[in-house]
């Protein structure tokens, strides 16, 4: 009996390990291949069968990127755009969600407001790109990172507000009631009592916002020309009418992805803290 159970457990563990290994491979192989591609010689790109281990490791594609002053500018712009988009989104989105959650609005009104936010979030940007361009021209913001940031905010704030609204609504009222009794103001309650509790969700929202903003292409490409150009436009620009410049494109992709991967590794800690915290809370 005992043996049977332990054999079953062993098999299950094996299966568990197997599934996770396969999943990890599916994720990792493309990424590793991308890195390999970025150090391949141009002639080894479309060989049959594919060149998995290049005959020679070359850093020429990276060298070209480093030599081009524009790469630094793209990088700096991407960083600026993501930073401000995330900062503004998190502050205004979290506050708005808290405000909406505690206003004791009629359910219908609250639903209506959320609906408008979500409607704006999911409206196909392709159609609003040109009117948005006109607004930015009117504000004299064309070709500035702020045009991109404002464009991104239209997507990220509704999303974060929605996400946090759900979180705040699920938060037990008792937590705040003690603070109300103590006579603390809304701001104090929000800052000292509520925010620390929901911090994991806030960091998750921040991480998602930063990813979106860093990777977004359409809005950026329609309001940025030269000074405000960002990495996502740079990656797309290796696709030309002459086919694709695989090497430089792979190198630029790595340059673009790497900071986000590092960020993800770093941010993961916060996510996990949040998750374990959630478990303790229960």
């Amino acid at each position: 009996m005992r043996n049977k159970t332990s054999a079953k457990i062993f098999l299950l563990k094996l299966l568990h390990g197997l599934i996770l290994s396969v999943a990890c491979l599916v994720v990792l192989i493309p990424l590793i291949y991308l890195i390999i591609n970025s150090v391949k010689l141009p002639r080894e790109f479309l060989t049959v069968p594919p060149t998995i281990l290049p005959s020679e490791v070359t850093f020429q594609h990276y060298q070209e990127l480093i030599d081009d002053a524009k790469t630094i500018r793209y990088f700096r712009n991407s960083l600026t755009v993501s930073f401000w988009t995330t900062a503004i989104t998190i502050v205004s989105g979290t506050l708005a969600a808290y405000g909406l959650a505690r206003m004791k609005l009629a359910a219908r009104l609250l639903a209506g407001i959320t609906f408008i936010f979500l409607f704006i979030r999911f409206y196909p940007r392709v159609t609003t790109v040109i009117p948005f361009f006109l607004v930015m021209r009117q504000l004299d913001l064309l070709d500035t990172v702020w045009a991109i940031i404002i464009g991104h905010l239209g997507i990220t704030i509704p999303f974060v507000t929605w996400l946090m609204l759900v979180v705040f609504q699920d938060l037990p009222q008792e937590i705040e009631e003690a603070a109300i009794v103590d006579g603390s103001s809304v701001w104090q309650r929000f800052w000292r009592v509520v925010l620390p509790i929901v911090m994991p969700s806030v960091s998750a929202a921040a991480i998602l916002t930063a990813f979106l903003s860093w990777n977004e292409f359409l809005i950026a490409s329609s309001v940025a020309r030269r000074k405000a150009s960002v990495l996502s436009i740079a990656v797309a620009s290796f696709v030309s009418d002459k086919g694709i410049q695989w090497g430089p494109m792979a190198a630029m992709s790595v340059v673009m992805i790497l900071p986000m991967i590092i960020f993800a590794l770093f941010a993961q800690k916060y996510l996990i803290r949040g998750i374990t915290f959630g478990a303790v809370k229960g």
Binding site: H16, I19, L20, V27, I29, P30, L31, Y33, L46, T47, V48, P49, P50, S92, L95, A96, G99, L100, M103, A111, F115, F119, I120, F122, Y123, P124, V126, T127, T128, I130, V135, G154, P158, V166, E177, I180, V181, G183, V186, F190, A204, N215, F217, L231, S232, V235, V239, I244, S253, M256, I257, F263, A264, Q268, L271, I272, G274, I275, A279, G282
Partner: protein, 298 residues
């Protein structure tokens, strides 16, 4: 002041503060987005094709909508979108929840696996599309090469109308299962453990616990994720743009790709706006469904 009175007093005096909280987000979102949205609403009932005229060509009522609905390319793109998004989202939800369960726990190994598994969603869709284009190349691609090792002759991924659809679904799944994993993981971890213990003591099997205890608790968040992923997937453009460009032929021509082509390449503004508003009708229904479900839950 009694506690109760004090609480109501607070409620009243809270309101101005709460309004101040909401204001910045409201201003940024509605103020900046209102004009573009209103403009596109206006365009949807106007005739305007840039190849014909450089200013709107007058009010045409519902003509744009009627013409789009009757357009065979539009119909086809809607069908493609349903197949692609349907396939991708079902796979993502299933795999995401499974993987969330398989990676539970806080051992370093599980943390490492979890971190690794969320990496695809970090990658810019433009880059991911091109990366998979290399991988799925029928002759020089890594995927068919690896399939060859286990004795499978890989298909013509990007040249066959059916496999191209599969390729797009695979890309979406690869990139966005991590999102479901992330959300489901957080949701599962926040289920109170004593609930599960009680259920276990009652003699429920692991499967029964999942079905009758965990799933109902997870449902609201999973439903949100489902709707969110559905709409996001329908809206995705970058990845299709770089993976298949809607081809071969019209095989992976999705609705968003259609709207993009009409609006930003053919400059048929009226048609693009009308298609967008039709999409929004669908999106609105999805959003309302979530609301309705949430209210029923409460």
């Amino acid at each position: 002041m009694t506690i109760k009175k004090r609480a109501t007093w607070h409620k009243r005096h809270d309101l101005p503060w709460l309004l101040v909280f909401v204001l910045p987000a409201f201003l940024i979102v509605v103020a900046v987005q209102f004009y573009p949205l209103a403009y596109s609403a206006l365009l949807s009932v106007q005739e305007w094709s840039l190849t014909e005229s450089q200013a709107p060509q007058g009010f045409v009522g519902w003509d744009n909508f009627a013409r789009e609905l009757g357009d065979s390319t539009f119909q086809r793109s809607v069908r493609n979108s349903i197949v692609i998004t349907g396939g991708a989202v079902i796979l993502e939800m299933f795999l995401g929840v499974c993987l969330a369960y398989l990676t539970m726990g806080s051992s370093w190994r599980m943390r490492a696996v979890r971190t690794l598994l969320i990496l695809p969603m970090v990658i810019a869709p433009v880059a991911a599309g091109t990366l998979w284009r290399i991988l799925l190349n029928s002759r020089a691609g890594l995927v068919n090469h690896l399939l060859g090792f286990i004795g499978i002759k890989g298909p013509e991924w990007l040249a066959s109308p059916d496999w191209a659809v599969v390729a797009v679904i695979l890309l979406d799944t690869w990139q966005w299962t991590p999102f479901v994993l992330l959300v489901a993981g957080a949701a599962i971890a926040s289920i109170p453990e004593d609930l599960l213990e009680v259920a276990a003591i009652d003699g429920a099997s692991r499967w029964q616990v999942f079905l009758y205890v965990e799933l109902p608790l997870l449902m609201p968040l999973l439903l949100l994720t489902l709707v969110f992923r559905t709409l996001e997937s329908l809206l995705s453009l970058d990845s299709i743009y770089s993976l298949t460009f809607g081809g071969p032929g019209f095989s992976t021509y999705t609705m968003t790709f259609y709207i993009y082509t009409q609006g930003l390449r053919n400059f048929n503004f009226g048609a693009a706006a009308a298609s967008s508003w039709m999409f929004m009708v669908f999106a609105s229904i999805c959003i309302w469904l979530v609301f309705w479900f949430q209210r029923r839950e409460r």
